[in-house]
């Protein structure tokens, strides 16, 4: 198996709006090595979220090819792509996106419903994920009973519970105070170092980006590399 976990080759992405087509990404190529913690920066509207969504398989490029963990996901059917997502990637949203009516435990359990694990096995995985993010004691709490930082950590537990090879985070600290942001970044760093998770994180915050092993700048649909 090659060293690269994800390979983006000549990807162009156009969005149609009001019959007008706008090019967000242009012939973009990118290799993400296994074990990388990549920070993606760039001005607003430069296409960071778009690139992340493409890597996550929740959007498809207009042209070009994306391969993750040896599997080419461009051109996959919707069902196959959904199945692939549920096993390969974990997505962390800026606004956590926890389901309000489900407890922390149940939120983390959600992705496991798409596997064939038994209830007991699911329990084991959920508790392990909550333990990693340091919230075992909050499993019965609903999102509204948690702080923003705690919510995001539950969301991270949900993202890692199926043990995906690739974690994608879109401004995971964008809505957090400095202390909570620091905790979340420390957690991501630990996932990268200790659990060997490959992470791509979009951020506007240079301090957050500094926690990554590599920083890429996206500008007008093109990538510019900077040393971390």
């Amino acid at each position: 198996m090659s060293d690269a976990l994800a390979e983006v080759t000549g990807v162009t992405k156009d969005y149609k709006r009001d019959k007008q087509s706008i090019r967000v990404l242009e012939a973009l190529s990118l290799t993400i090595p296994r074990g990388d913690f990549l920070a993606l920066m760039g001005p607003s509207g430069s296409g960071k979220t778009t690139l992340l969504n493409l890597l996550a398989g929740i959007d498809q490029p207009t042209s070009g090819k994306i391969t993750v963990d040896g599997k080419t996901i461009t051109g996959l059917g919707e069902g196959a792509l959904a199945k692939w997502r549920s096993r390969t990637t974990g997505f962390i949203f800026q606004l956590y996106n926890l389901i309000p009516v489900l407890t922390a435990y149940e939120n983390v359990e959600l992705p496991l419903l798409l596997t064939s694990l038994s209830r007991a096995e699911r329990r084991q995985h959920v508790m392990q994920a909550l333990d990693i993010v340091g919230l075992s004691d909050r499993s019965k709490h609903f999102p509204r009973q948690l702080s923003g930082g705690q919510e995001q950590r539950v969301a991270i537990a949900r993202a890692i519970v199926v043990d995906p090879v690739l974690l994608l985070a879109d401004e995971p600290t964008g809505d957090l105070d400095a202390k909570s942001a620091d905790e979340v970044l420390t957690l991501l760093q630990r996932l990268n170092r200790e659990f060997r998770k490959t992470i791509v994180m979009v951020t506007h915050d240079p301090k957050a980006a500094a926690r990554a092993t590599r920083i890429l700048h996206l500008e007008k649909g093109q990538l510019v590399e900077t040393a971390a």
Binding site: N53, N97, I99, L114
Partner: protein, 386 residues
């Protein structure tokens, strides 16, 4: 998928008010449906419970009602002996009845209405063991007995009352029950007395018999056909006879079905409205679930289920609302004899099942388009929603 179930149920509690309003709409539909059907069922059950499968009624040919049937004594004497009917030591059990329609005022002084007076002999009680008179009394001379439900719907029919009809006053000496059968809506009078009073001597309206076997009906009719005296008569089962009298019920069922359908449209639109709002409010949730790997179909089923659940709960509430009418006494016009028939609203378990089903269906159908919209929305569009 217990978790998805929890997800839908808890969301119903989150938007309590709209859930309750939708639920109330469905409950109303189901309640109206059940009350109308209970009415129809009550009327139908008169026909279904009156007589037993072996009981037959002999009427004059060319009529389907006792009101317009006349059987002269010679014909009745001969018909009594054609065989094929149940006997006891006193001979064949044949009840000769004279059917008269009279008019009496309502207890509250309202407009008078028609009711049935049946002239009977002792045989009427032999063939209808279900008729149980208080104290075992029998009509004799000017003493008459009255079906208990009927006594509440007309004036002067309480025990001890004097009531005037025909050419004289009669004394009510007792009330009787008949297991909900049609007789309960009748006044029973001694046959010779009413024949004299109504100037219908030597004639009756109908003969009631019990066949030995169901197949004997045909044989009985063939036998009647053979003699000049009985040629003018025909026999049919009592069940069939009364089924022919409950046309009101069929009409009620059709009209009730139609009303339910119209109301369902309203309740369905209510459910649709609620679910559209729910789907809109939860767009980001839906996008998240999709991003996690849940398919469109799961989303569709989940929202359909949520809507059906409101419907089912509404259906259950509707059943609870309608249930108290079960057993309630009322009266209906018999459109053949234009007389009043007393009966009770009847709600059967099957009707409750249908009521629940209607509730669930209204919910599911109303929720279908919103659920489809939720399932069809692109992931990114859902995720971007605020």
């Amino acid at each position: 998928m217990g978790l998805i179930l929890k997800y839908n149920i808890r969301n119903l509690f989150v938007r309590r008010v709209s859930t309750l309003m939708t639920l109330a709409g469905v409950a109303m539909v189901v309640a109206v449906f059940l009350v109308l059907m209970a009415l129809a069922q009550g009327i139908l059950s008169i026909g279904e419970t009156t007589g037993d499968p072996l009981q037959a009624i002999i009427l004059q040919k060319g009529t389907n009602a006792e009101t317009s049937s006349g059987i002269p004594d010679e014909a009745a004497d001969e018909a009594e002996n054609v065989g094929m009917v149940e006997r006891d030591p006193n001979g064949p059990i044949v009840a000769r009845d004279l059917f008269i329609v009279i008019m009496l005022p309502r207890p509250d002084g309202g407009a008078p209405a028609n009711l049935v007076v049946r002239g009977v002999t002792g045989r009427a009680f032999d063939i209808r063991p279900e008729v149980k008179v208080d104290g075992g009394k029998r009509p004799r001379g000017s003493d008459i007995i009255v079906g208990r439900p009927l006594s509440k719907r007309f004036a002067h029919l309480n025990v001890g009352d004097k009531v005037h009809f025909g050419k004289r006053d009669w004394n009510v000496i007792g009330h009787f029950d008949a297991d909900g059968q049609a007789w309960e809506s009748e006044v029973w009078v001694d046959l010779p007395e009413i024949q004299a009073d109504a100037n219908r001597k030597n004639t009756v309206s109908s003969l009631f018999v019990r066949l030995n076997r169901p197949e004997d009906l045909e044989a009985l009719n063939e036998q009647l056909e053979k003699s000049a005296n009985t040629k003018q008569l025909k026999a049919m089962t009592v069940r069939d006879y009364f089924k022919g009298q409950t046309g009101t019920a069929q009409m009620l069922q059709v009209v009730g079905g139609f009303i339910t359908f119209l109301l369902s449209l309203g309740a369905g639109l209510g459910a649709m409205n609620t679910m559209y709002a729910a789907v809109g409010n939860r767009a980001r949730e839906i996008g998240t679930l999709r991003a996690l790997g849940f398919g469109r179909f799961t989303i569709l089923v989940s929202f359909l289920f949520e809507s059906a659940l409101i419907g089912l709960a509404g259906g259950a509430l509707g059943c609870l609302i309608a249930l108290p009418v079960n057993g309630l006494q009322t009266g209906t016009m018999n459109w053949v004899s234009f007389t009043e028939t007393a009966f009770s609203f009847r709600i059967t378990p099957a009707m409750l099942g249908v009521g629940l089903g209607i509730g669930g269906l209204v919910g599911a159908v109303g929720g279908f388009l919103p659920a489809l919209a939720a399932a069809r929305r692109p992931i990114l569009a859902s995720l971007r929603a605020t």
